[in-house]
Subunit: 299 residues, 2 copies
């Protein structure tokens, strides 16, 4: 499934996405059993939606450094599972209490709170089970290094830490530093995991810092674009109601800096992410276009 020179960017992206979707479907098969509900709830939130940006980043970073995307796939699937679990738990009534996600009822609306809680737990656990399967084709040391990075970035010093800051600042004014830390952790950390896991699976420890710098800027740009779309976006395209941040009195880049400045900041981080990509041993046209596409959700 490696992108080929003669393919256009949308063709390459589509090829990755199709392969990821199939691998996720296989990783979590529905089998008749007494606890079938939780598998249904896990599959409901994991499959058939989502941009798969994180998985694509794992596969492409691995490919750049010489690992076949097929061999990096278990880790790519694992990161999508972590992402899906975080959305399920984030939507729960005690958290953001969001009834819609990706254009359909949230997991807890569809399956009830308890099943949604367990589906999230199940996806998080399944992520580590799935990632380990990469050792069928790659050295165990590398797989273990990738899993450790994944756990760090998803954990309390990463994504979960970001959610805690988010929760605790609801309804309060928040400093620009705290907002940036929150975004870096909540969205950035898992993107960092994606890019650096690609490097680690290839045994390229020395490229992890570059990959993380890219991911940090990409994550900030991505989140600022989200803030902007929450004001200016189209509910049908977003898959969730517009204006939900303001309604929850959440600080965002838009509420702190205004729309114009937020747009400029997103462009600034995107440009810096592109510059970091130039530092890779070989220029990667696919990643340049992917980065550009994420900013241009704005238009």
């Amino acid at each position: 499934m490696s992108p080929k020179q003669e393919q256009s960017f949308p063709e390459q992206l589509n090829q990755y996405r199709t392969a990821i979707e199939e691998a996720l479907d296989n990783a979590l098969a529905l089998t008749p059993c007494r606890y079938q509900t939780v598998i249904e709830a896990m599959r409901y939130s994991l499959l058939g939606a989502g941009k798969r940006i994180r998985a694509v980043l794992v596969l492409e970073f691995a490919r750049i450094f010489g690992v076949m995307p097929e061999h990096a796939m278990p880790v790519a699937c694992a990161i999508e599972m972590i992402h899906a679990y975080s959305l399920i738990h984030d939507d729960l009534p005690c958290m953001d209490d969001d009834a819609f996600r990706r254009g359909k009822p949230s997991c807890h609306v569809q399956f009830g709170e308890a099943a949604a809680l367990l589906a999230g737990d199940g996806l998080l656990t399944c992520a580590f089970e799935t990632a380990g399967q990469a050792a069928q084709n790659l050295p165990s040391e590398r797989v273990l290094a990738a899993m450790e990075k994944m756990a760090q970035c998803a954990g309390y010093r990463g994504m979960i830490g970001g959610q805690v800051i988010d929760l605790e600042s609801e309804g309060k004014s928040i400093s620009p530093q705290a907002l940036e830390e929150m975004y870096r952790l909540k969205t950035g950390a898992l993107l960092e995991a994606s890019c650096s896991c690609g490097c680690l699976l290839a045994g390229k420890q020395e490229m992890v810092v570059t990959a993380e710098n890219y991911a940090k800027d990409l994550g900030l740009a991505f989140q600022i674009v989200d803030d902007i779309l929450d004001i200016t976006g189209d509910q049908a395209l977003l898959g969730k109601p517009v204006g939900s941040d303001a309604e929850k009195h959440k600080s965002t880049f838009v509420s702190l800096y205004g729309l114009d400045q937020a747009r400029k900041t997103a462009e600034y981080y995107t440009k810096r992410a592109m510059e970091t990509l130039q530092k890779l041993p070989l220029p990667d046209e696919f990643l340049m276009q992917l980065t550009d596409m994420l900013l241009n959700r704005l238009q």
Copy 2:
């Protein structure tokens, strides 16, 4: 910290527990940061309580097969983290809605629902980060095999599956087969992980089946004893109110078979667990006494 011949069983057990408690404390240090609340909530539920049976089983099975308990400690800590996370989520209002745990307010009563949810997520993620550290002293393949077993047993086909059966059978009459499957998954699976991770860390794949058979019987005996104590126990010793299963109209071994038959069944499984221990290459007096102690919580 390996048990020495001249030490009594309580001394050996105490030595293990002290070492486990210290390792858990170190694995999750409290550092000042914007997301400190979640670390406090994680530490609140993880430290200073619990029998540490699961961790002790990891260390002792590893020791039997020649791995220093110190070297198996990261995996022992990981399984305690998974156990602690499962209790936090299990106590949440949308699940069992229990306000007390281990003699103090449940995590969500103390820190609020959202923080408790995230503390559970944080402990589960931290478990995999922590387990990976065993590779500092043991071959990566073995550590990876242990982590995979851990994820399988804790996941939707293991502990989480058991919780789903539990949830769905609340208020209903449940068949003895379904009750036994629920117990095997809900309690047994993590005990299986503990015993077999010890073997896997020692590279003794061929001992996993014996270890699992022991753990399965131990788990059933353990859970039946829990059912009995829920009727006959002392709230001060249990750390939670007596009679909570009956109040929730949960089927238990006692409600299905009566107290006498439940006692006999617990004894039967304990005896069978003891017999399985005889199949280990060397008889292990410590495990015999531990097994006996768990049954004798009854007296």
